[in-house]
Amino acid sequence: MASISSRALFEPAIVKQALVDSVRKLSPARMVKNPVMFVVELGSAFTTLLFVHALVTGAGDAPWPFTLAVAVWLWFTVLFANFAEAMAEGRGKAQAQSLRAARKDVMAKRLAEPRHGAAVEQVSSSTLRKDDVVLVEAGDIIPSDGEIVEGVASVDESAITGESAPVIRESGGDRSAVTGGTRVLSDWLVVRIRVEAGQTFLDRMIGMVEGAKRQKTPNEIALDILLAGLSLVFLLATVTLRPFSAYAVTASGSGAVVTLTVLVALLVCLIPTTIGGLLSAIGIAGMDRLIQANVLATSGRAVEAAGDVDVLLLDKTGTITHGNRQAWALLPAPGSTELELASVARLASLADETPEGKSIVTLADSKKAATPDASGAQFVTFTAQTRMSGVDLGSRRIRKGASDAIERWVTEAGGQISPETRRAVEDVARQGATPLLVAENARIIGVVQLKDVVKAGIRERFVELRRLGIKTVMVTGDNPLTAAAIAAEAGVDDFLAEATPEAKLALIRKYQAEGHLVAMTGDGTNDAPALAQADVAVAMNSGTQAAREAGNMVDLDSNPTKLLEVVRIGKQLLMTRGALTTFSIANDVSKYFAIIPAAFVGTYPSLAALDVMRLHSPTTAVLSAVIFNALIIVGLIPIALRGLTARPAPAPELLRRNLLVYGLGGLLLPFPFIKLIDVTLAAMGVS
């Protein structure tokens, strides 16, 4: 799926299909869902009838070539809008293709009883029901979404995540969910199917990507109402022009009553076709961008809510810190040196494969600690009982571990801890770090400070979020002391220490009661209640099935930092919608200046003064406005599909910039373009 982000905006294959689809979408049953464009379609049909009437009778509403031209361009307006939608859907469909390849029907080994070794029956994956239990062995494709009942296996999930490295899946714990369409590479799994056929994660994902079952989001519905309301206002303004014009003709005794063709043209130019035509494309494209970020949303509503989120609950581990403590400083005890401590600590950690152990070796190496010969060494591994590890090298017995454990060990050997060292241990703990004592025989050599290292650049991200008005809350199981220290270092606004699932849920409820919208990430089954409560809940794909079902988004990369990206995409979606609405409405001013003088100059010649663009003739004036109105939809497709660049800035700054670009720009831009089209039409001999 990595290739998708680099897909060109107008890929020929997609464009070709979209062209076909834009005609197919002309069906009134589909158009009626988009009130603005439905009005345009009715207008197109009506002017077409007027054209036929004019052609047959020879004396219709307006000269037939003019009516024909208006009708043709009105049809184009509808087609362009359909094309925009089809393009957005097409890009989604292309992404769905790669997913569909994974969804092929496979043979599943259904077990008679939910245990390894029970009788196996070969069935098609499409006949599997919820709660069936299947056996999946090395090389098999997992037939459907499920929960592992028994077994451990490495699974290739690249079909879903694009990540080629296999992941370990096992029963119990937080890595027990498997996804249909992924492949078991080694060992075997007994899986209880969790969904009915056709409703798997993959199926839902394909549905979302294609935008097939897309429902309008609340904000889209509200915008639709506004657009419909505006259309009604403009309908009134144009419909009443006919009697106004009739009165004017009688009163002035000159000119002709404005034609129905011109009125329909005026109506279509005035109603917000630009945003009306691009609205659904913007929504689909927003979802598309989310998927490019490898996040799958279960509804458009969730994407929209992401733009509104003002409290982010971030897990400390994995999001804010790298998630493993690393050796950060060496504090020698009285009577020893840093170099000695480094050397001894290094020796104690040589066989320690944990990230902590490795980091001690790295730190010691950076201190250029002497490397003693470790041949014949007896390594002592860490156990939960001793809570220390180390090495016996001849008479040297070296240990490192939790301070109380080492202290006991040294005391038993006849040694003791000095007050200075004890203070050093307490200091380290107070800073939110973990003290590790290193001792040789009965002597304490010093303290190794292990620290949770905050990710590079995360502090800047939080500053950015604060500018957007988003509060960050760090959630951690650490004690308050440690949590406060890391929170201060990372620059989050608040933290929840010693977090239990209940405390997390209570915190979300508290923020929501204050009117905030809360987003969080989670992966464990015990995260599920909090995920279900949060307004935007991103579940890690590596997490449990329960977590994935409780969330309204799934991050395929299982990268908790992705939440920030999700918020950005949500905001971008809303901004694009708002900007194009503003642009669309602002455009209307210029169209009045084109059409009003053209329509009434016969009755009142003095109205020519309003023709500020000095257009060639009334015919070209009306046509120019209609053509501009149609072409601008095509011109804005890239913005609709790509979205506005959402630079993080406080609301007033964003408003000022967007109002200037899309408001003022929308007001002024059409003037030169309408003039240009008019000049072109005149040059082509249209009079």
Partner: protein
């Protein structure tokens, strides 16, 4: 001309200085923060009337109360007019009013429009003027304040459906705001020579020796509330141009201030009530920002000589004095015209029909903007708040959030109600004018031919649909067609806005308040003022530009 613009500046400064403290006072009244003795009297009155002070009505009940109360008021006015011939306090022995005009007048006064399809002194008895019309002048204005208060409560509420009690809001607005202000203004006006008597006529001998009958009556008391309550229905047919209603430049300035006083003050009340005074200032600034350019246009246009007069060789350096009172001059007349149409007042001290085309366009467009630039008492501000909802919806999206106003999310239902509230008055004005254009009865009443005749019809329906009541003149409106058509248009323009606004209030009330952050669109800064003014002007322009092009714009261009 510079003196006229000086007058505009002095007027606005004076208005602001008075409106700010009054706004604070009104906010206290609406919140029920009254002195203990007043409270005691009030609670006695409420007990007598069977009103539960603590009741908080959900929006349908609040709306029903408004509608029932207004319907009853409408019926009383209708019946009193029809029966006035047989009722006391009718010294001029005027007969009962005809059904069409009585209907029109009843709707007109109940809806705070005060469109007058009749000549007051020769149609209405003193009883009708005082009991029917003046009462409605008070309660129709109080209804506006009540509806505004309900909307404010909706914005203030935290997930509770109650909007307060209509009866309490209505009573407090009338008793503690409108009544005291009217008493003070009436007394001041009477001191300046405005008539106040129960006598019918005064017979005087003119200099030529002829005998002339001058109509008099309880004028000062009605004029005070007609201005303060943005009613505008004069005692006399020529309204505030009549020397017994508006005798001197001093009364003229006082009445001018009275026209905009309460609509302006309510902006500041709003700020107090939502606990953020900047919000009130922003709304006031928006009104001023829309008012000043249009006032400037009309002032400038009226200082230009008319083409017809220049040709006669008369000295026209003073500007367009046709249809204006010499004691007011161009500046005070033009300023009155924009003030009375900005507020949905509609009283006139000059003939708008005689204004230059651009001079007349200012007042006409101020009405077509939906009477939200100051507007009617209460109704102007709730109208502007509807536009604010539209503005935050569009602009709010541009900052990447689903829109909210004062912490209340704007969803589909709010959008529906806001759209309806904007749509109905415009629809009524345009459709009414269109019907008049095609019906012989509509066209026949036009006083002038050509584009000016169209302006007359458009002005009449714009005035009615936006509950202004200002008359352009020239159009004969006491015939059945205009009496009924404008009556209907006034009903639509008033109540089909009130109901959506109350629905909006109810929907807001049920929502949670979202605390503001730096990601929230601020609705108190200059940026928002510009945006809101722009939205109001754009919607007004896009709706009425074609019509205006065929009326005043053509007139101006073909001079």
């Amino acid at each position: 001309m510079s003196a006229s613009f000086g007058l505009l500046v002095v007027f606005l400064v004076g208005l602001t200085l008075v409106a700010v403290p009054l706004g604070r006072f009104i906010a206290l009244v609406l919140d029920g923060a009254l002195p203990a003795p007043v409270r005691k009297v009030e609670s006695l009155l409420f007990r007598l009337a069977g009103v539960d002070v603590a009741e908080s009505m959900p929006w349908p009940r609040y709306a029903a109360s408004v509608l029932v109360f207004n319907l009853l008021g409408l019926l009383v006015v209708y019946v009193l007019q029809r029966l006035q011939g047989a009722l006391p306090l009718n010294p001029a022995q005027l007969p009962g009013v005809g059904p069409e005009v009585a209907f029109n007048t009843a709707v007109s006064f109940a809806s705070n429009t005060n469109w007058q399809a009749y000549a007051g002194e020769t149609t209405m008895s003193h009883l009708t003027q005082m009991v029917a019309l003046t009462t409605q002048n008070f309660v129709s204005a109080a209804t506006g304040i009540a509806v505004l208060t309900a909307l404010v409560r909706g914005l203030r509420a935290e997930k509770s459906p109650g909007l307060g009690s209509f009866w309490v809001d209505l009573s407090r607005s009338t008793l503690f705001v409108l009544l005291p202000l009217s008493v003070v203004l009436a007394l001041v006006l009477a001191s300046q020579g405005v008539v106040q008597t129960f006598a019918a006529n005064v017979k005087v001998a003119t200099l030529e020796g002829a005998e002339q009958t001058l109509a008099v009556g309880p004028v000062a008391s009605q004029v005070a509330i007609k201005q303060l309550g943005t009613n505008g229905g004069g005692f006399y047919n020529v309204n505030s141009a009549h020397p017994f209603e508006n005798p001197t430049p001093v009364t003229n300035l006082l009445e001018l201030l009275a026209i905009l006083l309460i609509p302006a003050a309510l902006c500041f009340s709003f700020g107090h009530l939502v606990r953020d005074r900047r919000q009130g200032w922003a709304l006031y600034a928006t009104m001023v920002a829309l008012f000043v350019p249009l006032a400037g246009l009309t002032l400038w246009a009226e200082h230009q000589p008319t083409a017809a007069l220049s040709m006669t060789g008369v000295d026209v350096s003073g500007g367009n004095m046709e249809g204006k009172e010499v004691r007011f001059g161009v500046g005070a007349s033009a300023l009155w015209a924009v003030a009375t149409t900005a507020a949905s007042n509609g009283s006139v001290n000059a003939m708008h029909d005689s204004f230059t085309p651009l001079g007349g366009l200012g007042p006409m467009w101020l009405m077509q903007l939906g009477e939200v630039v100051f507007g009617g008492v209460g109704s102007g501000l709730y109208g502007l708040l509807v536009y604010a909802v539209l503005a935050v919806f569009i602009a709010g999206l541009m900052v990447g959030r689903t829109p909210e106003y004062l912490g209340k999310k704007v969803g589909a239902f709010e959008m529906k109600m806001a759209s309806l509230a904007v749509l109905f008055p415009s629809a009524a004005a345009l459709l009414g004018t269109a019907v008049a254009c095609v019906l012989p009865e509509g066209v026949a009443a036009v006083g002038n031919g050509g584009a000016h005749g169209f302006s007359e019809m458009l002005y009449a329906f714009s005035s009615g649909a936006n509950n202004n009541g200002s008359a352009f003149g020239g159009l004969t409106v006491n015939g059945p067609f205009y009496a009924i058509a404008i009556g209907l248009v006034m009903l639509v323009g008033r109540y089909w806005v009130i109901v959506p606004v109350l629905a909006l209030a109810g929907s807001f009330a049920a929502r949670r308040r979202v605390p503001p952050s730096s990601g929230t669109l601020p609705t108190h800064g200059p940026m928002f003022v510009v945006l809101l003014a722009f939205v109001v002007a754009l919607v007004g322009a896009l709706t009425f530009v074609p019509a205006l092009a065929l009326g005043p714009v053509v007139e101006h261009l073909t001079r």
